[in-house]
């Protein structure tokens, strides 16, 4: 990045007097934009009428083809976070945020071109590949910076940023609908113009975050903060190198903990509207079901801040114990709520489940920091994001297929989700035991003081070796 030196880590070191409370808004600038991915579905229906305008015409895309845009985006979110995690960590947050802004904003512009040309492959490339890389880089870019600024409250700090990701759809959804209404004419659906506008707006918004963000000076500590003297077994003072971390059983246990927690939540989130109407026929209308989905999204967002902040006091492991134990109990309660026809109990169960779904995402960076130290936490978090990608496939598939199997077997629609709920509870029980097995990382994985020098020398040696040696 010699062309743009202001992006370098060295140019982002905070001067004395800089308030660390400037960093969460910087992170929110990124997460409030990239979280738009959750609201991308608002474009699906209008994009099925690009040629027919009022209804789908021959040659128009169908919903199944359009569904791949989001799936490709989520796949590249996980892949880019894993592949570029180390680069993000070593290059600093501003460089990563700038790149994420270019990819995410650029993804919208390329997609607008795809809409204009009516070529779906260009949209797959734009929003799916390019935008997906922006999602991945943006998601992990502020994590380690926040943890370094808030060593006293790492859960709360990362919870604030990741809360933004959950809340972004609240802004993106009405904004996208409003833009399409503005740009549409009787002969034209305003999707391309909305993409261009969103691309530019999101790029600018994310760049504000890139300009605000700072990393603390080496050795900086919050005023009055003294690191705990009493050693806690599950909070290390050592760092683990990213590629050593993924060799540890702890990493893979946390991977399963996240994957199972997300699988249990994501499938329900996708089917919430249909589920509420089918479990309570005549009691929950289409409009009320939409309200229920909104309520779940709200608790998904609030849970990110609440649970991550709580984890600073009760510990990460205990927080996940809460998710798994309480989640299991609530999933087992849902069929009973359906059988007695209690909509209130059903809603109460799911808003708590959704808060823990969001809380799982927001608490995990601090869990990684506790296990592997702060040096490569962003990069390790990048690898862990693959658990989310996997859960994004498992969750909806489980819920949809089990429901369909039940209906095909003659089970009434109102009871078709009962088995699914019990399977979700079973997944959480497995998650509980994975969490139980997490112990401190063995000291042989800890970075030695001269680790960086050895790695640099190995890179030089490898570059100097003749081909085929």
């Amino acid at each position: 990045m010699a062309l743009l030196p202001f992006l370098d880590r060295s140019h982002t070191i905070a001067k004395p007097g800089f308030s660390r409370w400037m960093v969460p808004p910087a992170a929110l600038c990124i997460h409030l934009c990239i979280g738009q991915a959750y609201a991308f579905s608002v474009f699906n229906l209008p994009m099925t009428k690009l040629l027919g305008i009022t209804q789908s015409a021959s040659g128009d895309w169908n919903l199944a083809e359009l569904g791949w845009i989001f799936s490709i985006g989520i796949f590249f979110l996980g892949t880019s976070a894993a592949v570029f995690g180390r680069w993000v960590e070593e290059g600093g947050p501003r460089q990563a945020m700038f790149t994420a802004a270019c990819c995410f904003g650029g993804g919208f512009l390329v997609s607008a071109l795809g809409v204009y040309m009516h070529n779906l492959w260009v949209i797959y490339l734009g929003y799916g590949v390019l935008g997906g890389c922006g999602l991945g880089l943006g998601y992990i870019s502020p994590v380690s910076t926040l943890i370094k600024w808030f060593p006293d409250r790492p859960g709360m700090a990362t919870g604030m940023a990741i809360m933004g990701f959950g809340g972004a759809a609240f802004i993106a959804s009405p904004l996208s609908v409003w833009l399409m209404a503005k740009f549409s004419t009787p002969t034209h659906v305003g999707v391309a113009e909305s993409f261009i506008t969103l691309g530019i707006v999101y790029f600018c918004f994310m760049m504000v975050g890139a300009f605000i963000v700072r990393v603390p000076a080496p050795g900086w500590k919050p005023e009055g903060y003294t690191p705990p003297v009493v050693e806690q077994k599950l909070i290390t003072k050592n760092d683990v190198y990213v590629y050593d971390a993924i060799k540890t059983p702890q990493f893979w246990l946390i991977w399963w903990v996240l994957c199972l927690n997300v699988t249990a939540g994501i499938g329900v989130l996708g089917q919430a509207s249909a589920m509420s109407q089918e479990m309570f026929p005549g009691k929950v209308s289409v409009v009320a079901a939409a309200g229920f989905v909104g309520l779940l999204s709200l608790f998904n967002m609030l849970g990110r801040f609440f649970w991550a902040s709580t984890s600073d006091y009760i510990g990460r492991k205990n927080t996940y114990f809460c998710f798994f134990a309480l989640g299991t109990l609530l999933y087992c309660t849902v069929p009973w709520a359906g059988s007695i026809g209690s909509v209130s109990l059903f809603v109460l169960c799911f808003v708590i489940i959704m808060s823990m779904y969001g809380g799982g995402f927001a608490t995990v960076p601090a869990y990684l920091k506790d296990m592997f130290g702060t040096r490569y936490v962003g990069a390790i978090h990048g690898w862990l994001i693959t658990a989310w990608s996997a859960a994004g496939v498992f969750g909806p598939v489980l819920v949809n297929y089990i429901r369909q199997y039940q209906i095909d077997s003659g089970v009434p629609k109102a009871q078709a989700y009962n088995v699914t709920m019990l399977i979700m509870a079973g997944l959480l029980v497995i998650g509980f035991f994975c969490n139980l097995m997490i112990k401190a990382v063995h000291h042989r994985f800890h970075m030695k003081p001269d680790h960086e020098a050895i790695r640099a020398q190995m890179a030089v040696d490898a570059a100097g070796e003749p081909a085929g040696a």
């Binding site: 007097g17 409370w21 400037m22 808004p25 809340g167 079901a289 939409a290 909104g294 709200l298 809603v347």
Partner: protein, 41 residues
């Protein structure tokens, strides 16, 4: 005096930065709550 100025500018920067992200988020949350209320009507 220099320290007072720095503190003043910090406070202003903090208000601007939090307002920049907080206002759109609050607007989105209000929209969502309005929609969610339909569940209880």
């Amino acid at each position: 005096m220099a320290s007072e100025n720095q503190s003043g500018s910090n406070t202003l920067q903090l208000i601007l930065a939090w307002g920049f992200v907080g206002i759109p988020l609050a607007w989105g949350v209000i929209q969502t709550i309005e929609n969610a209320m339909k569940l209880f009507q």
